[in-house]
Symmetry: C2
Subunit: 144 residues, 2 copies
């Protein structure tokens, strides 16, 4: 069973036609060395591969993917949105303010506390995000 078929199924399942731009973008999200990528960077990668896709299409497709639950959109403090494939395993993020690298983590205790807090306030949580901004290990070593 090829990966293409899998992606095909994913797209059809959410009611989107299987088109080249969508497959290409899915492929980039799956294979990028950095799981967390901006629309602009997806676009650049498409151009590098010689694929003639417009930036508007990248945004449209990413937005559709988000609506379909295939993708998660983050709004870090960087001014532009960052996207990542939604593989079902919820996690939170550490963002390096120097090199913009993103690390993922999960903490059961934090998750539990969040639910408890929401309960206390009578909130029905639909979503939550925890961003830790800081300087990562390798950036600390550089005296810049």
């Amino acid at each position: 069973m090829s990966e293409d078929k899998l992606e095909n199924k994913d797209l059809k399942k959410v009611g989107l036609k299987v088109t080249l731009p969508r497959l290409k973008i899915l492929g980039i999200l799956e294979n990028a060395e950095q799981r967390h990528i901006s629309a602009e960077d997806v676009y650049k990668k498409l151009l590098e591969s010689g694929d003639d896709v417009g930036l508007a299409t990248v945004y449209r497709v990413l937005t559709q993917f988000e609506a379909a639950g295939l993708v998660i959109r983050h709004r870090f403090d960087t001014g532009h949105a960052i996207f990542e494939l939604n593989e079902g395993n919820h996690h939170d993020h550490l963002v390096c303010v120097k090199c913009a690298t993103v690390a993922e983590f999960v903490d059961k205790i934090i998750e539990e506390r969040q639910i408890a807090i929401a309960d206390k306030f009578g909130f029905k949580i639909t979503e939550h995000c925890l961003y830790l901004y800081g300087v990562c290990n390798s950036c600390q070593e550089q005296t810049s």
Copy 2:
């Protein structure tokens, strides 16, 4: 000792001249029924009070206040920034996705876990934010 004097001191302390727009904006941040307010809404409030302040000035002043540590800027999922007075007591936020009301909370256990996680990753945390998005109590009651 009047409140004006206090504000005066705050502004001078951070090296900003005491001007009418700055005092007015500080006043709005202190007295708004909603502590969490957008630049646009600050601007509207100024107009309502008959104060002739430009939107650009509102942004400039809020940015200066942020740099001076008087104000905190949030980037919720709403597309525009939200500002609140920085009164020194760190807290996290619950945001209602229906009415955009913001509630604040602090949880010692979560704060501790965050530090532990950062340590594990070798991150030097500079900042962190935890946003819980959901439907607040009063919005749940409306069947809309």
